[in-house]
Amino acid sequence: MKKFLFSLAAGLMLGHTFVSDAAAEYPEKPITMVVVYGAGGSGDTTIRAIADYAQRTTGATVIVENRAGGGGTIGVSYLSRAAPDGYTLGLVSTSPFTVTPYFKSVTYDPLTEFTYLGQYTVSPAPVIVLADSPFKTMEELVAFGQANPGKLRWATGSPRGTNHIATEAALRQNNIKSQFVPFKGGAKAMTALLAGDIEFAVVTDFGPALKNKQVRLLAESGPNKIKGHPDIRTYKELGYDLTLPIFLGVGAPAGIPDEAVKFWEKVLHGISTDPGFADVLSKYLTPQSYLDSKSFTDRIHTGYVNTGETLKELGLLDK
């Protein structure tokens, strides 16, 4: 109870409760973590859990701020313009850093304008159908799409996001002309699926619906197996060219001080073995997957370049 009242007070005062008094040692003032999506989703919840962990273990004050919009690009563009002093960090996710820049003019460069501090998870983004759907396998879905041009209706949480592009590529590879239904937000896509208005959806926040047996999994659009579902094949196993991992990590503007990089690498490494955090992640069926600053930077840089090449090969880019 005491703990609760304390955190309530801390929360309401935006975390301005106390500032570490150790002089000239990072962090000497509150740190802001920018979430480039709205509150309540997996990216937001996990960043808040990390902020909570950092406050508990280091005594630093961490404030979480949502700057949603434009499929994450508005928040990322804000992050790129922030002072590189290590006091403004942000959520790093697949779409705005490796996919969206190919489809929309953005004001940042994923290759040069950011310091990537570490990755903490890779989320699944499966192809889901209603529990009573006639489609039992991905092959049946593909066969229906091929036999009925324009009749296969599907949706994702954000048009031209990673899930949309990867699956569009897979459908084209199978010569399917499909009907993509645009929705703003995964919740609306889920609603349309449950109402039977679309045939399938590709979303990350599918955990509750699966647990409630409302939906069934047909395939995983990323390269990794879904934890606890070894029989569900990935796009890679199905032979599709574009398989994009939905990673989540932490980043900052390029050129932040070394001590800030070390501080956050330590926090992210620490949380990667924290059972409480594993528990938070397991709610989204996503495993702990830690990468340090260097490996995460490599992943994003090569991911960004390779995605561009694959998109060109598949004829998905008009540039």
Partner: protein, 504 residues
């Protein structure tokens, strides 16, 4: 019997000392942030997400629910007193609420708003208890095509919400629709009306627009008026004038009842919730009123309806979340996140596996609403005294509240600039006798109109017949057609009737 058991389970869960405390913390926090413009329920609840890590699931949801419907109470206070909406669902209350206050009757307006909300809150809980979880299915019946037709119907009624000429209100509504298209096109990703400014990529925020049009617009006209008439707001003479009169009650029964029904219904639909419910209620009351010309000049019905609707809507929106796993908007998205952190998967099984969570939260709303009335009604006297503050002090205060409020939305200075520009426009619109009400309603509906048209068409394989072949959608479009035909031919039928009466 099953209903009785559920209710008893709900009471035994909600009445534990800790849950009572969480309920109180929730409704109190909700009232406070409802009063503060800018800091809405979504922002507050997300700030509290880490706090809920250490709480029991039911207690956490009871607290978050309290914040949401508590904000519905608090939001009306600033709308009525100073013409600044405390949060989005109280935007429409500004229109008549503040006029009522100007007539020296702020107390009754606050009272009706509090008691209307209480009635709506209690009735909503009863509705959930009686009809129960199957209610959530309504959310699935309303797909994008149905939403599209509902909005078309709503937009047609919007033209009738203004008191002035139909042409002027149509103009105002069209400006609202144009403003709603600012930002990224959801289908093509193209930038529209952004003038190359990144600020506009995500569109204009409703609170920024409303605070400017109503709050700042008011300050500017006040500054002008002061030269001719120093004491603009009439003060209540004695305490008996602080409470609603018999006439107020008589005028409000209907709007409260209809507002509750409407709020209940909209709360169940995905993507609309409390805000659209309050707008809908205002439009409806104005349309069916025998004296629509009073609206905009201090009709108490314009407070009673929307304020009941937003409370009912806030509470009802928990039903599709807890029973289908469908969050109807940003606020429910946060609640869903908290549930997931606690390992609770909202959906059809939640009600069966964790009935104490579902019924505990529902019954806590009953208790929370009573707490809110006890908390709010004694404060009416104090709130009303705020109006005795001379305009020379109150106006700068409003200006500061609007600036802080718009800044605190996203910690973005551009929101402040946009809000001030909207304020200037609000003032000029007043000068040009253009009513800002149709603008703000059309602005909200316009965004939903476009996205539901896009996704509705896609669901119908690109064929517009989908809007006419799905029964609910077809009925709504027929209603819209009837309204247009009846008002266009209204004069004609009237003349025919008069002729017949003359001849007989």
């Amino acid at each position: 019997m099953e209903v009785f058991d559920s209710v008893m389970l709900g009471f035994s869960t909600a009445l534990t000392p800790t849950n009572l405390l969480f309920c109180f913390i929730g409704v109190f926090t909700g009232t406070v942030i409802g009063v503060l413009p800018g800091l809405g329920p979504t922002a507050t609840m997300s700030l509290l997400i880490p706090v809920t890590f250490h709480m029991d699931t039911t207690g956490a949801i009871i607290m978050l629910a309290g914040i949401y419907y508590g904000a519905m109470y608090g939001g009306s206070i600033t709308s009525i007193l100073v013409n600044i909406p405390g949060e989005a669902a109280s935007v429409i209350t500004c229109i008549d609420g503040h006029q009522v206050a100007k007539n020296g009757r702020a107390g009754p307006a606050l009272g009706i708003s509090a008691f209307g909300s209480l009635f709506a809150g209690v009735a909503t809980v009863l509705g959930i208890v009686i009809i129960g979880p199957p209610l959530a299915q309504v959310a699935l019946e309303f797909g994008p095509p149905e939403n599209f037709s509902l909005i078309v119907f709503g937009l047609i009624l919007v033209v009738f919400i203004s008191t002035g000429s139909k042409l002027r209100s149509l103009m105002s509504a069209l400006v609202g629709i144009v403003l709603s298209t600012v930002g990224l096109d959801i289908v093509s990703g193209e930038e529209r009306f952004t003038f190359g400014l990144p600020y506009f990529l995500d569109g204009i925020h409703i609170i920024v627009l409303a605070m400017g049009l109503f709050g700042i617009g008011e300050v500017l006209s006040e500054a002008e008026r002061r030269q001719s008439n120093v004491d603009v707001i009439a003060k209540p003479k004695n305490t008996s004038e602080l409470l609603p009169t018999k006439e107020d009650w008589k005028a409000s029964y209907g709007p409260i009842g209809r507002g509750t029904l409407l709020g209940f219904f909209f709360g169940l639909l995905p993507g609309s919730g409390a805000m659209v419910a309050s707008f809908g209620s205002y439009v409806l009351e104005k349309k069916i009123s025998k004296t629509p010309e009073r609206f905009g000049h201090g009709a108490i019905e314009g407070v009673a309806g929307p304020e009941s609707a937003n409370n009912a809507g806030a509470q009802a929106s928990f039903v599709p979340l807890l029973n289908l796993g469908i969050p109807s908007g940003a606020v429910m998205g946060v609640v869903m996140g908290v549930l997931m952190i606690h390992g609770v998967a909202p959906g059809p099984l939640l009600y069966i596996e964790q009935p104490q969570l579902f019924w505990g939260v529902v019954i806590s709303m009953l208790i929370g609403n009573v707490m809110l009335v006890i908390l709010n009604v004694p404060l009416i006297g104090i709130f009303v005294r705020l109006l005795s503050v001379p305009a020379s002090i109150l106006s700068p205060m409003i200006l500061i509240i609007c600036i802080i409020g718009s800044y605190s939305l996203n910690n973005n200075i551009h929101d402040v600039v946009a809000m001030l520009i909207a304020g200037l426009c609000g003032y000029l619109m007043k000068k040009a006798l253009l009513d800002p009400a149709p603008l703000i309603v059309a602005f909200v509906l316009g965004q939903m109109l476009e996205s539901s048209l896009h996704s509705g068409l896609a669901i119908g394989y690109g064929n517009p017949s989908v809007f006419f072949t799905r029964p609910i959608s077809a009925i709504l479009l027929a209603c819209a057609a009837i309204v247009i035909i009846s008002s266009a031919s209204g004069g004609f039928i009237q003349r025919r009737l008069l002729k017949r009466l003359d001849s007989s």
